[in-house]
Amino acid sequence: MSQQTLRIQKISAHSGSIPGEGMQREFTVCKLIDTTTCIGCKACEVACMEWNDLPFGQTVFDNTYQTMPDTRWNYWNLIKFNEHEREDGTLMWLMRKDQCMHCAEPGCLAACPSDGAIIQYTNGIVDFQQEHCIGCGYCITGCPFNIPKFNNETKRVYKCTLCADRVNESLEPACIKSCPTGCLHFGTKDDMRELAEDRAKQLRDHYGFAKAGVYDPPGVGGTGVIYVLHDVTNPEAYGGLPNNPHVPWSVKLWKGPLKWIGNVAMVGGLIGLFVHYLRFGPKTREEEFETKHQGEQP
């Protein structure tokens, strides 16, 4: 379900106007994750599970403090632990909270072929609408951060909602609320950017991290989740954070210059449908009923 009081600015595979677009000025929200004060306590993981009522899953010890190798359809918030040796031989234990980055130009939304399955609110939150999801998995291809996860039982895709339901009620996301060290912050993008830059400067000036900086990759138009990193030139060290993420070319081409091919195919499909109608006539009521309920899960 979309959040009725949050305004929408982008809808997947939607032609035509967006209801209510531009009616109100809204701030872009942003989550700031300061990896330099994260202690990897996993309170955010638990808060995410609890708030979103996600079912428990099996985990297996895997030579790490990390709960599981990657986020799952029912585990949207995962701290990635990485032992990292610096050039001077000193060790760092990097901890990065991984979740949907809520890109300004979301690859998932661009790739999605189902009208309304992925929407972006004017506050920047990218939200999956599972009732419109057709389970094609294109969003998974479209995401440069490997976030959307497919549920084999429901045949739909899930991810962090930035607690759109809480934000809708003027609350911070559950992960932010639970963070004991205050390494997580939530506010407008402008404010978070400023806070992040200040912290990065402090790290450069007082803590000897000459390359400290803010991760807010332009390749996806900036993100609704930004990181302060000890070394912004090496985000890969933080559990595979891409250095220069961008929406895959295939998706860009498909939804951009090559979109007409799809349109042609769609028109072709419609013609085919019309021909089919001419030849076989309309469906009976029973057939219609069966078709309608086939795809639904109890």
Binding site: C38, I39, T59, M95, T181
Partner: protein
């Protein structure tokens, strides 16, 4: 803590050692992070592993478990050598200038022991551990000193009599006298050179010097504005010399002038609620509530008991000493009035005879030994899992096999109540176990009200969140009902000494389940007669709650269950339930949030935050100050001092010591193992003590002698140093029953250095067996770069460690998928001679594939 959680935000420098607060105290740790964010504070972490705390530290030193005194002693040596000390503070607020008796000898001058050691009894005659001076002061009547610290079996008959402290102490403010405390300190730690620190701790010299330089940098050029804090937890206490590690930290903090100051202090992080409260309420056998020393068989009357435990001032003649413990008789008499009400009279010494007299050690490890040896027949186990806690879980299991009965109050089936089917016990063996086990369902923490006392000494009231499920009962209801039954039996059948039971006050509105608010009121204390304060003319009517411990009397007109908690539940109501977050000073005092002992004071010894004239060392962090106009001490915090004592009278800020000053040298019976801390090796160590190979271990520590008490050596193949710890994802042995926690940490694991894994051909995730001479622990290998091999005294030594949270009952355990061993099957039965804490850290093991 001398200070508090919130106060950490005021610090400029943190030394975190023997604790992993990011892991175990993540919520309180926010204030350490706050100091970094707002003050550019630096954080040094010294730990056997690169921990979650180390991940946000500015410097991490990997130390060998059990070598902390060597490290801290090295920092003391560095601070003195580089003149990074707080000279004025040291001279005026500590006993640095006091002259010590000429017969006193340091371990560097002998064979590694202090003067007065008797090798046969493994005890010290402490006559030389005293100040030079004249007049008789504290402890003027020599009484038999029961060696409560000794692991006595059979009971010890008592140690040599305690000599007195002199009333007038000789001193030298120039600190030049070779026998003054400062010179002795300097001499003692001159042996702790960076090279020696490296040999013992395994921390490379350059890295140690970096840490020492950084930590002492706050006193560069004698500047007194900055403050640094030392933060520790059970990584310090759980050694056979744990108390002395903390002593070393206290000495360092006194040397740097950090005690009593915002952002300073020596700060113990208590493991879980309500440990601080348990300690305050006489969790240890040698205390009564409020740390009043227990009577021993040598105390024949209330007066003789008071004479022994009430100190008299011992100080340089021109100085003043408040000697607050001179009020001990008021605390003790009021306590007895709270226990026995009208049955406690002046004639019967406030029912002194009803109090048990403690003749020897009854501490945790000793108690299990006594059960093993058949003198303890039964056990009530509430709020703890004794078998899993250990140490030496097998010994505890074997002890329970010999007990007649065991009552366990728990919310889950636990290892203790099911000791009789612990792994390895065969069905035939089970048939021979005759112990009757009662398992009572108790209330969980959310199902009870009451107060928690946190590490910062803050009492915080909590409300009941949920009703108790099913047949579960509140702990206090179970205890009360047992008491009422026992009392009934005494009433009916009499007994050897029924008075102490029959006369106990039990004035609760619901005797079979005393409401905890009523208990707190009783603990706070009330007036038993109309009282008037002669100075302020303030009056209290009989029956009214006392405003604080200053009102306590030794004439039977007040009752109080615990003097340090007096003020927590006054006529104004339950002070621990207050929730006013305001903080006018911005120093994190929050005077209206809960209530902290003593007297709602947030930083102890805060008089020391000012110079001799009563002016704050740092005007930007004003805690208390002398107001010349009002002739009083005022403050943002409650002054920890006699409020009208003029600075020129030179009263010492450490009012709980008879000297009035901080003890760099701890005289006489203060500690069982020495007036200065000396590095001794853990009972199981990979090396001989490099300081004195002929005296490797703490000389007063005794070993236990049952067949279950075995101690390993490198010669037996146990060459790897092992330590145990906890995880943020888990809570003790509880959360293995919660699917959420189990999802976060599904299986037990052992952290081993990549190099060791390589040597043994072990890959990450593989099942391995860690064995000490006492038992095996089977878990998955976590191969990590976060523990490195070390060079200890020229030898390559590996160090490993593992969390303690799993056992043989729990979600994963019951599925039978993984090993069902307890971490504490490996740990040795040995304890610290002062606090009786077992040595869970730093024992020897070997590792192989399982």
């Amino acid at each position: 803590m001398t200070n508090g959680w919130v106060d950490m935000k005021n610090t400029d420098m943190m030394l975190i050692m023997g604790g992993n607060p990011a892991e175990n105290h993540p919520c309180g740790f926010k204030w350490a992070i706050e100091a970094k964010r707002t003050r550019n504070a630096k954080m040094i972490v010294v730990d056997p592993r690169f921990t979650r705390t180390a991940a946000v530290a500015d410097l991490h030193c990997q130390i060998r478990a059990g070598s902390d005194i060597a490290f801290l002693g090295g920092v003391i040596h560095y601070a003195i050598e580089n003149n990074r000390i707080a000279k004025d503070y040291l001279i005026n607020f500590t006993n640095a200038a006091f002259i010590v008796k000429p017969g006193f000898q340091l371990p560097g001058d002998t064979d590694g022991v202090f003067s007065g050691f008797d090798a046969k009894t493994q005890t010290y005659d402490k006559a030389t551990w005293n100040y030079q001076g004249s007049g008789t002061g504290a402890g003027k009547d020599a009484v038999t000193n029961y060696a409560l610290g000794a692991a006595a079996h059979p009971p010890s008959s008592g140690a040599p009599p305690v000599p007195p402290l002199p009333a007038k102490v000789d001193f030298d403010l120039s600190l030049q006298n070779p026998n003054c405390v400062f010179q002795l300190l300097k001499k003692h730690y001159s042996r702790y050179t960076p090279e020696m620190v490296e040999r013992i701790t395994g921390i490379p010299k350059e890295q140690f010097l970096k840490a020492a330089d950084l930590y002492t940098s706050i006193r560069k050029d004698g500047d007194m504005k900055k403050a640094s804090t030392i933060i520790y937890a059970v990584g310090w206490t759980q050694h056979s010399f744990g108390t002395q590690i903390i002593r070393t930290a206290a000495i360092l903090q006194l040397l740097l002038g950090n005690v009593g100051r915002a952002g300073g202090g020596v700060n113990a992080l208590r493991g879980h609620s309500n440990i601080q409260g348990a300690t305050d309420m006489a969790g240890l056998f040698d205390n009564l509530p409020g740390y009043v020393k227990v009577p021993t068989p040598a105390d024949t009357s209330f007066d003789s008991w008071m004479k022994r435990i009430t100190p008299t001032p011992s100080k340089p003649a021109p100085w003043d000493s408040f000697n607050y413990y001179s009020n001990t008789p008021k605390f003790a008499a009021s306590y007895l009035k709270a226990l026995y009400g009208d049955a406690a009279t002046k004639q019967n010494g406030w029912a002194f005879d009803y109090l048990p007299k403690v003749d020897r050690n009854y501490s945790w490890v000793q108690m299990w030994d006594d059960m093993y040896n058949g003198t303890v027949k039964g056990m009530l186990a509430f709020g703890m899992n004794g078998v899993a806690i250990g140490p030496n879980s097998k010994k505890n299991i074997d002890a329970l096999k010999k007990a007649d009965w065991l009552v366990v109050g728990e919310i889950y089936p636990d290892e203790t109540s099911e000791f009789w089917r612990s792994p390895g016990i065969t069905t035939d063996e089970m048939k021979n176990i005759q112990t009757t086990v009662y398992r009572l369902p108790c209330a969980g923490f959310a199902e009870k009200d009451g107060s928690f006392t946190n590490s910062a000494r803050w009492l915080l009231w909590k409300n009941t969140a949920l009703p108790t499920p099913g047949e579960a009962r509140l702990d206090q209801a179970i205890v009360a009902q047992i008491f009422l039954k026992v009392r009934e039996l005494y009433k009916k059948d009499g007994g050897k000494f029924p008075d102490a039971i029959l006369n106990l006050t039990w004035n609760y509105s619901n005797p079979s389940s005393p409401p905890l608010a009523e208990v707190l009121k009783e603990v706070n204390g009330k007036a038993l007669a109309d009282l008037e304060d002669p100075a302020t003319k303030q009056q209290i009517k009989a029956g009214q709650q006392l405003p604080g411990f200053a009102w306590l009397k030794d004439d039977g007109t007040t009752s109080c269950g615990n003097w340090i908690y007096s003020g927590s539940f006054t006529e104004a109501g339950n002070q621990t339930a207050r929730r006013d977050p305001s903080d006018p000073s911005g120093l994190g005092v929050h005077p209206g949030w809960g209530w902290s002992w003593p007297a709602n004071r947030r930083v102890l010894y805060n008089r020391a935050s000012c110079d001799v004239d009563g002016k704050p060392w740092d005007p930007t962090r004003k805690q208390v100050w002398w107001n010349e106009g009002q002739q009083r001490w005022l403050g943002n915090d409650v002054p920890d001092f006699k409020v009208d004592s003029k600075p020129k009278d030179h009263m010492g800020p450490f009012i709980m010591n008879p000297e009035g000053v901080g003890r760099i040298f701890a005289p006489l019976a203060a500690f069982a193992d020495g007036p200065f801390p000396e590095h001794y090796e853990p009972i199981e160590s990979p090396i001989d003590n490099p300081l004195h190979p002929q005296q490797t271990n703490n000389p007063v520590v005794k070993r236990f002698k049952t067949p279950d008490d075995k101690y390993g050596t490198p010669k037996d193949g146990y060459t790897i140093v092992c330590t145990t710890y906890r995880l943020t994802e888990m809570y003790h042995y509880w959360t293995k029953n919660n699917p959420m926690n189990v999802q976060l940490v599904p299986q037990p694991f052992v952290e081993i250095p990549a190099e060791l894994a390589n040597d043994l051909g072990i890959t990450g995730g593989e099942k391995i067996k860690v064995s000490s001479i006492r038992g095996d622990y089977i878990a998955r290998a976590m191969v990590t770069k976060r523990i490195k091999p070390m060079m200890i005294d020229g030898k390559k030594v590996y160090q490993i460690g593992f969390p303690i949270h799993q056992g043989y009952r729990g979600i994963v355990e019951d599925e039978g998928k993984d090993a069902r061993t307890l971490a504490n099957l490996l740990t040795p039965t040995v304890f610290d001679p002062n606090a009786y804490t077992p040595e869970f850290k730093g024992f020897l093991v070997k590792v192989e594939r399982a």
